[in-house]
C-alpha cells in the first residue's frame, strides 16, 4: 500500500506537539483563579468542591446542555438562521441527537446538510466545545485527587478554563486554516447551480469551518455533512486530511502528559503513554496489512492485485483511510474519511477493537480516565501476584475502589453485548441491516460499540433512524459517558484521602516497564475475553466465509 508516510507524519507530529500543549494545559487549568477568571465567572470560581459536589455540578451542566439541544432541535423550524426552511426534528431523533452531542459522542442518525438549520448546527457546535471541556475538567479533578489534594477544584472554573483558554483559541486557529484550505464558512443559503444537462443542483454549505475545528480537536467527530470528512467541503485536500488526522490525536495525547504533571508523576505518564501508543500502532499496522488485500468481492478479477479501494477517497491516497479509521476510533473521535462498511472484514475489526478497549488515547480527558480504571485493576493484579497490598501512587487500593473500578469496566461490555443481544435477534435490528449474515451482525455490533464508547462513527449499512435505535443508543451513550466519569472521580477521591505510604524497595513502581507490560496485558486480556465471541461471529466469520 502506498503512502505509508501518512501515519508516520501523523504520529510524529502529534506526539511532538502534544508535550508542549500539555505543559500549557497544565499551566492554565491547574493554577489559582486569576483576575480574569473571577471577572468572567464570578466568585463561585473560588468555591472548592469534593468529588460528589463536582459530579453534581458536572451532571447539572450536562442536563442543561441536553435540554437546550432538545428544545432547539424540536423547534428549529421556528427559529432564526434557517434560510433553507428546514423543518423541526422528530422527538426520538431530537432526543438521540441532543444526547449524542451532550455526551461528546456525535453519533448521527441524520445528514446535517439535509435536516439541520444553521442555528441548530451552531448550537451543536457549542455542545461540542462544552462536552469536550467536561472531559478535560473531569481528568484534571482526578489528577488533583491523586496528587493528594483535599478538594478537587471547582467544576465551573475548570470547564471555563478548558473552553476559553484551550479549546477556543485552538479551534479559531484551526478554523482559519480550514478556510484557507477551501472549507466554506458562510451563513448564505444553499447555492443553486445549473448543470451541463440543464438541470439545477442544490449545493449545501454553511458555517462549516468553525464546526469542523472543534469537531476534530475535541474528539467529537460529528459531521456538518452526512459523509463527514469524506465530503470535499469538510476535507478538501491531502494536507487538510493530514492536518485533521493530527488534530484528532493532539488533545487526547496531551491529556496523558497533563495528567502526569498534575498528579506529580511525569514518569508514570510516560509509561502510560507508551502503552497507549503500542496499542494504537498495533491497530494501525494490522489495519494497513488487512486493507492492503483486495476486496473479497473482486477476487479473480484483473483488479484483484490492488488494495481494497472501495469506499475510499482516492484524492487522499489509499493509506490515509486505515490511518484515519484507527485514529478516529482509538481516540473516540468518530469522524470518517472513508466508509467503514466497505473495509475488508478484518480491517473492520480494528476500529471495533479500538472502541472496545477505548484507551488508546481515547476521548479528550476521558481516554486517560478509562485507562485509570485499567491501571487500578492492573495494580491490584500485580499486588495479588506478589502477595502485597496493591498501591497506586503510594496509596492503598482496597475493596471499595476495586468494586467501583470493576463495575465500571464491566458496564462497557454489558451495554454493548446487551444491546446486540436485544437487537440482533429481533426486528428492531434485523429489519434495519442492509447486509445479511456476519456483516449484518457487524453493523449492529459497531453501532452499539460506537454509542457506548462515545465514539460516534458509523459502520453504516444500517437504517438507524428508528425509535428503537434512537432510544437504545441514546441511553447507551448517556450511561457509557457518565458512569465512567463518576466512578473514577469517586475512586480517585477515595485514594486521595488515604495516607500516603512511603515507597520502599518492595513497592511495585508504576513508572517501570514491568508495570507497562502488566498494564498492556490487562487491557488486552480484559478486552479480548469480553469481546472475543462478538469478533468471531462478526468480522472473523465474514473473513473466513469470503476467503475460502
Amino acid at each position: 500500500m502506498t503512502g505509508g508516510a501518512v501515519p508516520l507524519i501523523v504520529v510524529l507530529v502529534s506526539t511532538s506537539v502534544s508535550w508542549p500543549l500539555a505543559l500549557y494545559m497544565r499551566r492554565v487549568l491547574d493554577s489559582t483563579p486569576a483576575k480574569t477568571d473571577r471577572c468572567l465567572i464570578g466568585n463561585s470560581s473560588e468555591t472548592e468542591q469534593g468529588w460528589a459536589s463536582y459530579c453534581c455540578s458536572l451532571l447539572t451542566l450536562n442536563v442543561l446542555m441536553f435540554l437546550l439541544g432538545y428544545v432547539v432541535l424540536t423547534t428549529q423550524g421556528r427559529l432564526p438562521l434557517n434560510p433553507d426552511g428546514k423543518a423541526s426534528l422528530g422527538p426520538s431523533l431530537a432526543f438521540h441527537t441532543a444526547i449524542s452531542f451532550t455526551t461528546n459522542t456525535d453519533l448521527q442518525h441524520y445528514s446535517g446538510e439535509a435536516l439541520l438549520s444553521y442555528f441548530s448546527q451552531l448550537v451543536l457546535m457549542w455542545l461540542q466545545f462544552v462536552s469536550a471541556a467536561t472531559g478535560i475538567a473531569a481528568l484534571v479533578a482526578i489528577a488533583r485527587a491523586l496528587a493528594g489534594r483535599r478538594t478537587l477544584g471547582n467544576f465551573y472554573l475548570d470547564l471555563f478554563r478548558a473552553t476559553v483558554y484551550v479549546l477556543l483559541p485552538m479551534a479559531i486557529m484551526w478554523a482559519l486554516f480550514l478556510v484557507l484550505c477551501g472549507v466554506p464558512m458562510t451563513f448564505q443559503a444553499a447555492a443553486i447551480a445549473r448543470t451541463l444537462e440543464g438541470t439545477t443542483q442544490t449545493i449545501a454549505r454553511g458555517p462549516v469551518a468553525s464546526f469542523l475545528a472543534i469537531k476534530q480537536l475535541g474528539t467529537n467527530g460529528g459531521g456538518y455533512f452526512g459523509p463527514n470528512c469524506a465530503h470535499p467541503f469538510e476535507n478538501p485536500t491531502y494536507w487538510s486530511n493530514v492536518a485533521s488526522s493530527i488534530a484528532i490525536l493532539l488533545i487526547p495525547m496531551a491529556s496523558v502528559w497533563m495528567f502526569g504533571r498534575i498528579a506529580g508523576r511525569a514518569r508514570h505518564a510516560v509509561v502510560v503513554f507508551a502503552v497507549m501508543l503500542i496499542i494504537y500502532l498495533g491497530l494501525i499496522g494490522a489495519a494497513f496489512t488487512f486493507e492492503s488485500q483486495p476486496s473479497p468481492a473482486l477476487a479473480g478479477l484483473q483488479v484483484a492485485d490492488l488494495p481494497n479501494l472501495e469506499g475510499k477517497e482516492l484524492r487522499f491516497g489509499v493509506a490515509a483511510s486505515p490511518t484515519w479509521v484507527v485514529s478516529t476510533t482509538a481516540t473516540s473521535n468518530g469522524s470518517v474519511n472513508s466508509m467503514h462498511d466497505s473495509l475488508n472484514p478484518l480491517t473492520g475489526l480494528m476500529p471495533m477493537i479500538a472502541m472496545w478497549l477505548n484507551v488508546a488515547f481515547g476521548g479528550v480527558g476521558v481516554g486517560m480516565i478509562n485507562m485509570f480504571l485499567f491501571i487500578v485493576v492492573a495494580v491490584f493484579l500485580a499486588g495479588m501476584m506478589v502477595g502485597r497490598t496493591p498501591e497506586y501512587l503510594a496509596r492503598k487500593i482496597e475493596t471499595p475502589e476495586m468494586r467501583l473500578a470493576l463495575l465500571t469496566l464491566l458496564l462497557h461490555p454489558l451495554l454493548i453485548l446487551g444491546g446486540v443481544a436485544v437487537f440482533a435477534p429481533t426486528d428492531w435490528g434485523r429489519t434495519t441491516v442492509l447486509n445479511p449474515g456476519s456483516h449484518g451482525l457487524s453493523e449492529i455490533v459497531y453501532e452499539f460499540s460506537s454509542a457506548v464508547a462515545n465514539n460516534g462513527s458509523g459502520f453504516e449499512g444500517l437504517r438507524d433512524n428508528t425509535v428503537p435505535w434512537n432510544v437504545a443508543t441514546g441511553l447507551a451513550m448517556l450511561f457509557g459517558r457518565f458512569v465512567p466519569i463518576i466512578a473514577p472521580l469517586a475512586i480517585a477521591a477515595s485514594l486521595g484521602r488515604k495516607k500516603a505510604t512511603s515507597e520502599g524497595p518492595g513497592t511495585f513502581r508504576t513508572d517501570s516497564w514491568m508495570f507497562g507490560t502488566i498494564l498492556l496485558a490487562t487491557v488486552l486480556i480484559v478486552g479480548a475475553l469480553l469481546f472475543l465471541p462478538l469478533a468471531v461471529l462478526g468480522p472473523v466469520a465474514e473473513h473466513l466465509s469470503t476467503s475460502f
Partner: protein, 31 residues
C-alpha cells in the same frame, strides 16, 4: 412522544444523580 423523549433524557440523568448519591453514601460508611 415529545414529552416522553424529554422525560426519558431527564430520567436517565436522574439515575446518574442517584448513582452519585449511592456512592457518596457508601463512601461515608467506609470513612
Amino acid at each position: 412522544m415529545w414529552i416522553a423523549m424529554l422525560l426519558l433524557g431527564l430520567g436517565g440523568f436522574s439515575l446518574l444523580y442517584g448513582l452519585v448519591n449511592i456512592i457518596a453514601e457508601q463512601d461515608k460508611d467506609v470513612t
